[in-house]
Each structure stands twice: as C-alpha cells, then as structure tokens.
C-alpha cells in the first residue's frame, strides 16, 4: 500500500509515463509488422513510411526521459514509485531500439528483389510473428501487471533462437549455391538477425517489468543459446 499518494497530480504524472510507454509500444509493434510486410511483399512505399515513423519513437523516448527526471527531482519518490519511474526509462529505451531494428529492416527492402525462394520469406515472416507475439505478450503484462505470465515469454525466446538458426542455415546454402544470391541473402540475414534481437529486447522489457512489480531481479536461468556460431554446412557444395 505504499502507492497511496497524497498528491493526485503525482498519480497523474506516473500515469502519463505508463500511457506514453504503451503508446510507444503500440507504435513499435506496428513498425515491425509493417517493416516485415514491406520486406516480404517488396513494398518500397511501405518501407519508406516505416523509416519515417521511427521519429515518433525517438521523440517518445526523449519525452519519457525528461518527464521521469522531473518527477524524480520534484517528488523524490521511494521504493515502488522509484522502480516504476526507472523502469519506464529502461522500457522506453528498449522500445526505441525495437523501432530502430524495424527501421533497419525497412531500409534493407531496397536491396532485396523478391526473387529469393518463397520459403525464405515465409520463414522470416514466421520468425517475425514469434518476436511480435513476444513483444505483445510483454506489453500486455505491462498493462495487467500479471508477472506470472512472464515464464511463457521466455519459452518463446528459445523458439525464436531455434527458428533463427534454421533460417541462418538456409540462407547460407543459397549463398553457396549461387554467388549472385550473396548480396540479397546477406541483407535478409541481417533482417533475420534484427528480428531476433527484437525478441531479446522483449525479454529485457519482461525483466524490467518483473523488477518493477516485485522489486527483485528475475531469476537468471537463461542459457543464452542461438546456435549459429556452431553451424557448419555438411560437406562442400558442388560448384555449378
């Protein structure tokens, strides 16, 4: 019950932070969705829109930082509130990074010509769906504060890693098959990596929420493991 304040203006300030975070989150979710759609359909117009949309997130992060610092200076918050405010700063930074990654995917649309096999694009779409599901679940937990659901988010992390490793292998084989594939496939590889990192930021956000709500660090049982560093292709691929 520490969160009962005398000043309700203070409450309003805290509410402002969480509302702003949610708006940023919604914006980032939309950007990633559209960046992947632009990539899969090779839609340059949509890619351009995503690139411009990133400004909104930079602005949002700056606003949250400023507001948070003012609140800390003026209200000298304790325990729960302080965690809430520091958490807001951390989460907005993660969301801003998610936006950057989305923007980076959008930028690469120009270098991909859509002649790569369909299965690749479907794979990237599936990877993006996993990452976006994770982001959505995490932001939903931010809204509901039901931290017991965070475990599910971690499960997804492993799925994302596995999917990324599989895509990595597939891309590698295409590049070895035909050198003309190297440029577009490298861009696709970076796109996949960016999407995978969106999942990592979602996990960071989950950890921050856990800290805001419980005051503890989330128990660290993450054997960090995408296996790309171990991927070796079987045998030499015959030259064409």
């Amino acid at each position: 019950m520490q969160s009962v304040h005398i000043a309700s203006a203070y409450d309003e300030e805290l509410k402002f932070l969480s509302k702003r975070i949610a708006a940023m989150g919604g914006h980032a979710e939309r950007m990633v969705e559209q960046a992947v759609a632009a990539l899969v359909n090779v839609d340059h117009g949509l890619a351009q829109k995503v690139i411009q949309d990133d400004l909104v997130l930079d602005e949002g992060q700056r606003e949250i930082d400023d507001k948070a610092i003012i609140i800390i200076a003026r209200r000298q918050p304790m325990a729960t509130d302080l965690r809430e405010i520091v958490g807001a700063i951390r989460i907005s930074a993660d969301i801003e990074r998610v936006g950057d990654l989305g923007k980076n995917v959008a930028k690469r649309v120009a270098s991909v010509d859509g002649r790569q096999p369909n299965s690749l694009f479907r794979g990237i779409e599936a990877l993006a769906n996993l990452a976006l599901t994770q982001l959505k679940e995490v932001l939903d937990v931010y809204a509901s504060r039901s931290v017991e659901r965070i475990g599910l988010v971690r499960d997804r992390d492993d799925q994302i890693d596995a999917m990324y490793t599989s895509l990595f292998r597939e891309l590698l084989t295409y590049m070895m098959e035909d050198p003309r594939n190297i440029t577009p496939c490298t861009h696709l590889l970076f796109c996949a990596k960016n999407i995978e990192r969106i999942g990592d930021h979602a996990t960071n956000i989950a950890e921050t929420i856990y800290y805001i709500v419980t005051g503890d660090q989330m128990p660290a049982d993450r054997p960090k493991g995408d296996k790309t560093d171990k991927v070796v292709l079987p045998g030499p691929v015959p030259a064409k």
Binding site: G26, S146, S166
Partner: protein
C-alpha cells in the same frame, strides 16, 4: 481464465447491489410513468395536473417535497444507469467495454473478455489497446473533441482479427464512455484467403500439371505405338492427378480452418475413442509400410472440449507421418498421459516413431505451409507439405499446443497438449 473469473465476481457483487437498490428503482419507475402519462396529455390535463399537484401539496406538504428530491438522488447515485448498462452490455453480442475519463475499464461484457485475453476492470484501456489508431480514438473521445468516433483496428496476433471500433460518450455528463467492437474479420479473411489460395495452389499445382502435360505430349508423339510405355505413363499420370486432388482437399480444409479461427463453444469429444478410430483407419497404411502401431493408454473415456472431426484430422496427420517417415523404425507408439502444461491441466497425447528423426534446424519450420524436410521423399510418400500446418491450425483453435522432440537417427515424438475443461 482468471479474467473471466473476475468478470463473474463483478456480476455477483452487482447483483447484491441491485437487490438493495430495487426499492428505489420501483419508486423511480412509478414516478417516471406517472410523469410521462400526465405530460403526454392535452393542455386541459396540465391544468388539472396543476390543480391536483396543488391539492396534493396542500395535503402532504412534507412528503411531496421530500419524495422528488429523493428520487432524483436515487437516479443519480444508485447506479441505476450503471445497472441497466450492465444488462445492456451483456445483451450485446459484440465485445463492449465501458470506461471512465481516465480510460480505466469500468465494465466489460463477456464477449469482450472472450475476445481480448487479460482484460480486467480497473485496467487502463490505453495500456491494453496500444495500436496508434486506437490511441488516437481514445484520446479524441476523452478530450471531448467528438461525441463519437470509429476506426478500423486489426489485431495480427495470435490470430488475425479486424474490428470496426466505435467509441462514444454515454448519456449526458455521466463521465462514462463506451467502446464497441464489430468483428469484420470474416470479410477480410475471405479476401486474404482468395489471394493466398490462388498463390499457393498455382505454385504447387504447376509441377504435377507440367509433368502430366509432358506425358500427354509423349503419348501423342513418340510413344504413340508403344503399349508398355503407355501403361507406365498413364500410371504416373494417375498418381499425379491423385496428388493434385489431395492437394486441393488439403488447401480447402486449411482455408476453411483459417476462416473460422474459433471453435464453437460447448463441443466435447472422447479422446480415447477418437485416437482408437484413427489407429483403426490407418491400419492398412501401417501394415503396407511394415509398421506396428502400439497403443499405450487405458480404455477409460477421456473427455475434453473439442471438435471430433478436427481432432481426428490432427491425430491422423501425425500418425500418418509417423508411419510414412518413421517407417524404418518398424513401430510407432501412441500414448496418453494426464499432463500439466504450465498451470493448465490437460492431456498429453504423444505419437512416437523410431525412424530417422528430424534434424534440429528443421524442427521449428516443419509446421509451415509446404515446408518439407526432403522434398523428394515427401513427394514419393504422396505428401503435400500441408499436413502439419493443418494440425497447427486446428490446435490453435483448441487452445492446444504441439511440441516436437527428435534426435537424428532415433526417431521423432510429436506431443499434443490438450487443455482439459
């Protein structure tokens, strides 16, 4: 689960309040009826009314003064508006959410709880509905710029749904607002389905069609007078047309599933009986492939919520794969265990084969449409690459999960976690 619980709790409390307030309701109602009756009359009645009121005032000065004031207070404070609002909300089939000036949820109807996981009274709407167009809608209505407004809102995950969302203020100066979600997913999905179907079908049908066309050409030309070759070619052509027919069936059932992503409520199925009939129906395929199917579960019925035909398809696809791709293992086991998936009680049905297994990097991908580990092998087995994607769709509808464990050289195990009631 917890969300629905909270909703019910709320209703219970509302009921108690309703009983307590009923007497005021009665009073207010009677007064309202009287008022309407009198004012609807002609001007002569108004005169009469005035006289009567005077007389009444003379006879019962204290009561007449107190009563209208009390009734007014009852309407304002008793939550009459909120109560009838709850009835109304429950009567609306579309998701409906009532919220206050700070975008905090005051009440949500059952449809809203069902459509949006994680809703709870007291939660902030602007934290839950984060899409830019929803934020704009909420901001606009709360700032009082407009009395009502509507936007199109699409949720991509877990299943794609499109709504026409309208927001409006409730009554005059009640401080309450309402959001209503009209589901437009069906129309949107049909459009998408059409485009997808054409893309997938044309891509996958091209190969067998090209081969049939090639054989026809050969039959009319070089092989015209060669009965042995003719028979052989006709056999191949028959296989190809069979494959095309299967492909179309699979694509259609996948599209149908995608069109109705929710399972009808209240259907139940006996898992044991369903699995047994799948085993029976695949008996011929199993013996043809030299595979023995071993069943490892009790004979008692296991009733779970679900659609029998759909779950039949799930186990049929999994068992068929096990017999086809795990053929070299010579046996396939089907087992059922009471499993705990997270906090959710349910059943785990595992179909295990002892064939070559699936390499780690393919596991996350094999439920994608048309994904085949070994295209040649799958073609030889008359596969279309849609089986597991159908399985995944059906399981999503059942709130169930598929997990795949495999070690190369040792076989594969596909486990379906089905939640109990």
């Amino acid at each position: 689960m917890a969300e629905t619980g909270a909703g019910q709790d709320n209703k219970g409390r509302a009921l108690a309040g309703r009983l307590a307030r009923n007497r005021w309701l009665l009073g207010a109602g009677v007064l309202a009826v009287l008022a309407v009756y009198f004012f609807a009359g002609s001007s002569a009645y108004v005169l009469l009314l005035a006289l009567a009121a005077l007389a009444a005032a003379a006879m019962l000065p204290a009561d007449a003064e107190r009563q209208p004031a009390d009734v007014g207070a009852a309407i304002e404070a008793s939550g009459l508006q909120r109560l009838s609002g709850e009835y109304l909300a429950a009567a609306v089939a579309d998701p409906l959410i009532i919220f206050d000036h700070s975008a905090t949820i005051v009440h949500a109807n059952a449809a809203a709880f069902a459509a949006f996981g994680g809703l709870a009274p007291g939660m902030s709407l602007s934290l839950k509905f984060r899409a830019p167009e929803m934020q704009a809608l909420l901001d606009g209505i709360l700032a009082g710029e407009v009395a009502s407004d509507a936007v199109d809102y699409t949720e991509k995950l877990p299943v794609e749904r499109t709504y026409r969302v309208s927001a409006s203020t409730v009554g005059h100066a009640t401080g309450l607002y309402v959001l209503v979600f009209k589901d437009q997913s069906e129309t949107r999905r049909i459009d998408r389905m059409r485009a997808d179907f054409i893309a997938n079908a044309s891509h996958e049908l091209r190969t067998p069609l090209a081969s049939i066309a090639g054989f026809i050409e050969t039959l009319r030309g070089p092989a015209r007078n060669d009965p042995a070759a003719r028979d052989q070619f006709l056999q191949i052509m028959q296989n190809q047309t069979g494959r095309m027919a299967r492909l179309i069936d699979d694509l259609l059932s996948l599209s149908r599933l995608e069109m109705k992503p929710y399972l009808g409520p209240g259907t139940e199925v006996d898992l044991r009986q369903t699995i047994d009939s799948v085993i029976d129906s695949l008996g011929p395929l199993a013996s043809e492939n030299g595979v023995v199917i071993e069943r490892e579960f009790a004979n008692a019925p296991l009733v779970v919520p679900g659609d029998r035909d759909e779950l039949f398809q799930v186990f049929e696809n999994l068992l068929e794969n096990a017999c086809k791709y795990g053929q070299s293992g010579g046996r396939v086991t089907v087992s059922v265990a009471g499993g705990e998936d997270g906090q959710q009680p349910g059943f785990d049905v595992t179909i295990r084969d002892y064939g070559p297994g699936i390499a780690e990097e393919h596991i996350p991908r094999i439920t994608e449409r048309f994904y085949r580990v070994d295209v040649e092998n799958s073609r030889a087995q008359k596969g279309t690459g849609l089986g597991l994607s159908i399985v995944k769709h059906i399981l999503t509808r059942h709130n169930a999960r598929l997990s795949i464990k495999s070690e190369v050289g040792k076989g594969a195990a596909f486990t379906v976690h089905l939640p109990a009631r």
